[in-house]
Amino acid sequence: MLQHAPVIHLLAPFYAAIIICIAGMWRKETAYPIAVTALSLSLLSAVATLIKVGIAGPVIYAMGGWSAPFGIHFHIDALSALMAVLIQVVALLTAIHSRHPIHSSIGEKSYLYYPLFLLFVTGVTGICQTADAFNLYVLIEVSALTSYALIAMGEKRSVHASFNYLLVGSLGATLYLLGVGYLYLKTGTLNMQDLNFIMTTRELFSTPTIQVALILLMVGLWIKMAQFPFHGWLPNAYTWAPSPSAALMGPLMTKVMVYVMIRFMISVYGLDAIVDSMWTTWVPYLAIAGIVYGSLMALSQHYLRRMVTYIIVAEIGYMVGAAWLATELSITAAFYHVISDALMTLALFLCIAAMRVRHDIRSIHDMENIFKKMPITMVAFSIVALSLVGIPPTSGFISKWYLISAGIDAGHWPYIIALLLASFANAVIFFRIFEIGVFGKKPAEGHHHEESHDKKYLSEAPFSMLIPCLVISASIILLGIFNQPFIEMISTTISSISGGEVLQ
């Protein structure tokens, strides 16, 4: 059954969604266990695929038995296998986390919430594995539609935010579709490997159609990943969404679009075609604008959730900037940051949701003495904060290390300065929170006052929300220390793809 693993971890959430639809109508509480078991099964098969890819190189799974350009097929190399594992991990932890918030806020409709949740995971996993450009559009639409509904089930203002997201998201997806159309017009195929093969053999890269196709594809993907000028929809959408949806879509939706951008850059257009194009000059400056904008806005926010959304915008700036420095090292750095940033964003959302559920904390000023009230969650929160600032043992430091070395390697000093300023802004943000969290809000006159140590004061987050927080912050540290295998796998794949001999 192992050779069907790529399909298994796609179908497991899909079938689970259907089962929940059926079972949920009678007994609401069956939704949660089915979701968790399905996601753990798909995680297992995703890890199996990753190991198989690690050993035997890229796995090609032809859908419907048709060979390369005629049918749709999966081309799973190390990048897509890693993304698949990342998605299953994030989805599983969010599913475990979501029991309490979903039960309390939209309990009676949980039999609708979980199918949408699982269909989103199916769509996003499909995006990571497919090798067909048009199929990618359909999967983007699947995940987009589910995310509109997942957002709209939140607070009062989430409905209008979801509508704006729908308009901008569909615009972006349709621009992507148009870009694929331009590619098809010029090359005649839809399969990514085939596109690259034809574009290199006929040296089509310089023709205006392919250039405009690149512009359309990139603008479409930037809209979907909320890169700086097109990020308008993200802050509202993820601030008012229910916390499990924000925890699911925050790390996944934008990061998968970065993966798609990298996939198009190296597998379809080819790195050597992109290096000498004028893109590598002006796109990093756009990314720098995004980093500076995101960091400044995050500094000025009081609501925790809105602050995290602006941090996401800044992090997207890191990845796009690094990717478009267009050297193998910089794309490795960008991809590693995709993974580490997904984990960090998820951890932030989970901790904030835990604080919201137990102590109704929404803004920075509510976080008085939170370290005493919820010590374990705050330990997880501070690990993530240190990782975002870039303090050594965490994965944030390693990704910052590789991003800066990519900057130095490409000699792009403004990008490095922007990175350092952003990590300093993160430091200010999080230490402001630590100050209020550890030392309380109103400065105590003199320093003789008692503190309350009674039991009522100390109330930790519910068990099902605490475990994901701890697992994620532990994985951030572990990913930081044991990062070599991941870096190794990513860089060999990227160099083999762009190293000329295009792996079929």
Partner: protein
């Protein structure tokens, strides 16, 4: 290339560009939410126009359906012929299937892609792929019609398939958008963007708590 030929030979693409501009302009600058959704629908229709117009060929090409006489060339007294033909076909097909499936399995996984990757002529790999499937020429009536078709007198079917999907996806997005508009109307009592933003601004609470649904109130009036 003087204007006349430029305009005439690519009229479709000009109209596609105009519709794109109309669509995007409507999405961004229209104040009414329903008008925005209609702008989105027009924008998607423009993309469909682009795809379908790149699929059609010179005048006189046929719709992508095989005409009846091409498929069943001989129709005289096919009743008895039919039975015998079926059994032959079944037998021939079964045996052909064995090799084809095996061939296909083998071809799919290993050499097909390497052949694909090599620079040599594309066509022959597909030739032998085809022969392999038909290598064991079954001798019944259903002779392969592949080589008897001239590919140029049929429209290209692929964009049509893609556009089928795009239209259905467009309608699905339209449905979700309209349901969101109804919820927005229930909450804010209007579907004009400026009025909604005002309602959000002076909403006393920061929109965080799920108030006892205003929808019920909006619904009553």
């Amino acid at each position: 290339m003087d204007l006349q030929t430029l305009l005439v030979s690519k009229l479709n693409y000009w109209i596609f560009v105009i519709l794109m501009i109309v669509g995007i302009w409507a999405i961004m600058s229209k104040n009414n939410l329903i008008k925005k959704i209609m702008g989105l629908a027009i924008f998607q229709a423009a993309v469909i126009l682009f795809y379908v117009s790149l699929a059609s060929k010179e005048h006189g090409t046929d719709i992508p359906i095989y005409p009846h006489d091409l498929i069943h060339p001989e129709h005289h007294g096919e009743v008895d012929h039919h039975v015998e033909e079926d059994s032959a076909k079944a037998h021939g097909a079964y045996e052909k299937h064995e090799t084809a499936h095996h061939e296909e399995e083998h071809v799919k996984h290993s050499d097909d892609h390497d052949a694909h990757a090599e620079k040599d002529a594309h066509h022959d790999t597909h030739g032998d792929h085809q022969e392999a499937a038909h290598g064991v020429a079954h001798h019944d009536a259903h002779a392969p019609i592949a080589d008897s078709i001239n590919a140029d007198d049929f429209n290209n079917p692929l964009p049509h398939v893609l556009m089928l999907t795009a239209i259905v996806v467009g309608v699905a997005t339209l449905g979700v958008g309209l349901s969101l508009i109804q919820r927005v109307y229930r909450i804010y009592g209007s579907i004009e963007e400026n009025e909604i933003l005002e309602a959000i601004q002076n909403a006393s609470d920061d929109g965080l708590t799920l108030q006892p649904e205003e929808e019920a109130a909006a619904q009553q009036e």
